[in-house]
């Protein structure tokens, strides 16, 4: 049976409190020996003399959730993980705020390190999320992942 496709999107920035709560929830899971966390943060890049104030994220939601579901399944298959959580912002996120939160847990560190890198790279290249980089004067440019 196919597992239910989860919604990865959170409106606006991902708050440090949300991340702290997420960590706290794992303290009852006693088979876990290693957590690894990736946090993507909006950079105040300077582009043609103008500084990025925020990124306004949009997405092809259904496809994005479906693709992340597949990445999740592939990661569980490939690595021995206890659990995995993936969240991405939608809407406006100011520079300095968090827009991506990936959290993996395993019995030992190596699995957690390897799985996290795999998941983040997959997200960056395969998930249809789009970003409008908004400058201080509210003009904008479209972001492209390197």
């Amino acid at each position: 049976m196919k597992k239910k496709v989860k919604n990865i999107f959170i409106e606006g920035p991902i708050l440090p409190e949300f991340i702290a709560n997420s960590i706290a929830k794992h303290q009852s899971k006693l088979d876990i020996g290693a957590h690894d966390i990736f946090l993507g943060q909006v950079r105040a890049d300077e582009i043609e003399g103008k500084r990025v104030q925020a990124i306004d994220y949009s997405a092809y939601n259904d496809m994005a959730n479906e693709v992340v579901h597949d990445i999740r399944e592939a990661a569980f298959e490939k690595f021995d993980l206890s659990c995995m959580h993936i969240y991405h912002s939608i809407g406006r996120v100011e520079s300095g705020q968090i827009c991506l939160f990936v959290f993996v847990s395993s019995a030992h560190r190596k699995m957690a390190f390897d799985a996290l890198r795999f998941i983040v790279e997959e997200i960056k290249s395969k998930v249809p999320v789009f970003g409008k980089e908004v400058f201080e004067d509210e003009s904008y440019t479209w972001k492209v992942n390197k």
Partner: protein, 80 residues
């Protein structure tokens, strides 16, 4: 002829001027032909590196488009 609903997002939505458009296209159209058709209608599309998804899966240019497929043109990804 077949009727196709085309979805656009971010920069492609901006170029099309709409989140979705309905197109009348010939039967057995392949993705590369759709791209050529779109780039003629909306010349700015040829300036960006967009990809095509059929029914929420990224596809190659040789894939056939069938009546009822959900077709999306996706601008470069910028997640994370």
């Amino acid at each position: 002829m077949q009727r196709i609903e085309l979805l656009a997002f971010g920069q492609t939505e901006e170029i099309l001027g709409a989140q979705s458009v309905t197109l009348e296209l010939k039967e057995d159209l392949i993705v590369d032909e759709l791209r050529a058709f779109l780039e003629k209608e909306y010349s700015r599309l040829s300036e960006i590196n967009y990809s095509v998804a059929l029914n929420q899966k990224g596809v190659e240019g040789s894939e056939k488009i069938k009546e009822g497929d959900i077709v999306a043109i996706l601008p470069p990804f910028a997640g994370g």
